[in-house]
Symmetry: D2
Subunit: 154 residues, 4 copies
């Protein structure tokens, strides 16, 4: 079974800016929604969100995105491929590919991206350890490194 | 004269999400607008935008952002510090710090970020060389590397 | 056949504001996207958008919305019911109901709305007459008045 | 002293859509932010927001907007004129004009609008009576009816 999840998402007319392409900022919103959908998916033992203590939540520590091709508005859904690239003590790394259609065949990759998510306590504001059950779900999604081409910014 | 430009920006109520903080995606919009303001600023010989050929435009090739502290909506302006970290043949790197108020004294840095901008021809869609005049403006804004703390995502 | 079209739409996490409900402004974006989907739907003789001359486009002349109940983010789609309430010489009126789920049974109406659309020439910027073919498509969608409850604002 | 308050606001590059004008939906966001700024303004006895009980909040019951002229992105601020058109038992009506620059002289009105705001209890979800102090602030902002030109939608 592939660890990569493909989340279809509906583009909005307003995602395009005056250049006539989906705005660079909106891609990050697509990542966010793909994440929320993945974390809400039923899993034996509960979705990832259901495994998170009421006092805890995940926040975004870092994001990186590389744009590959313009994406245009369409009434047909685009897609985000989403997987886990690393699991640490209180954080994990997600990898993404944004594609212009759900079917892999004939689709164009518009962007690849990585996000560092941190599990945090609402009470203390400090990172907390991922539980064994949480790590189990994350590891079921573990896939390859993100195929970034460009060097890191300074 | 400091190469770092401080661009005040007005927060919007809708920048906050249901967590009660400015949403992680919106920070990228603040970078975009800071960029547009900087590139529109009068310069001897014309603003950076005025130095760009009608057939050319700049696009975002890559972005990286590290979140440091939550930012909250306020009717008082926040600020983006913005400078150049590197100038290449047809691309350049921008560094940013997003701060919760315009005055440096007592302000909190909410995020640091880097963007790779590429000069592209509308006709061919291919990168084109930066002119000497364009490089001159960019070099007048050259400052330090972005003080990222986290390792690069995979 | 009912003249009312139900357009499912995917909510986004960022549609909610810090009050923990979908922000009042976003409802108008849902109307816009429902409109774009309806106008793109295949019709004998072509979609409404295909019936529009390259020099013409539709713009929003007026909007009115009445909020009925809070709408919350969900990974399940919400819906916009959309129909035509009047067809004039160069303009037409759309009616909408925004509901929290696609199935009518058990759904809650979050808002009702009306939009005046005007067909305009790009060249002159002036309204232009709707063609017989365009009116034919619009009349196939004609339904009841919007059930507004509140008096008109001053 | 004029009851009309002029709130400058900073446009964002992303406010424009692929038609190359500020998107019709964004105008409603400008109204929201103008409202928040007005309600936060210092007043003898406290700002309007400070006069609201912790259990109460204002929600938007209804909105109406008429578009007059395209608005384009600029690095110079646009403006919202904002005043009160009516005060009821537990609700009040706001009138707005969105203009392309802060100075009245030479500015173009892009839209006029009206919003019905309702004071509501968080506990019961029901409307609550405006206090005498709240009405006093609102009446200090009372101005003319909104100069709508178009008939009400059906």
């Amino acid at each position: 079974m592939s660890p990569v999840n493909t989340i279809p998402f509906q583009l909005r007319f307003g995602d395009e800016d005056s250049y006539g392409h989906v705005n660079n900022v909106r891609f990050l919103q697509f990542l966010e929604d793909a994440r929320v959908h993945l974390m809400s998916e039923p899993h034996p033992g509960g979705s990832f969100l259901e495994l998170i203590d009421a006092d805890h939540y995940t926040l975004v520590g870092r994001q990186e995105i590389e744009y590959r091709a313009p994406l245009n508005f369409s009434t047909h859904p685009a897609a985000v491929d989403l997987w886990v690239t690393a699991v640490g003590g209180s954080s994990f790394e997600l990898g993404y590919a944004v594609r212009d259609r759900v079917d892999t065949a004939g689709s164009t990759t518009s962007a690849v991206a990585a996000t560092t998510m941190v599990l945090v306590s609402r009470t203390t504001g400090r990172p907390v350890r991922l539980s064994a059950a949480q790590k189990g779900v994350l590891l079921s999604w573990q896939g390859p490194d993100v195929p970034f081409r460009r060097a890191r910014g300074r």
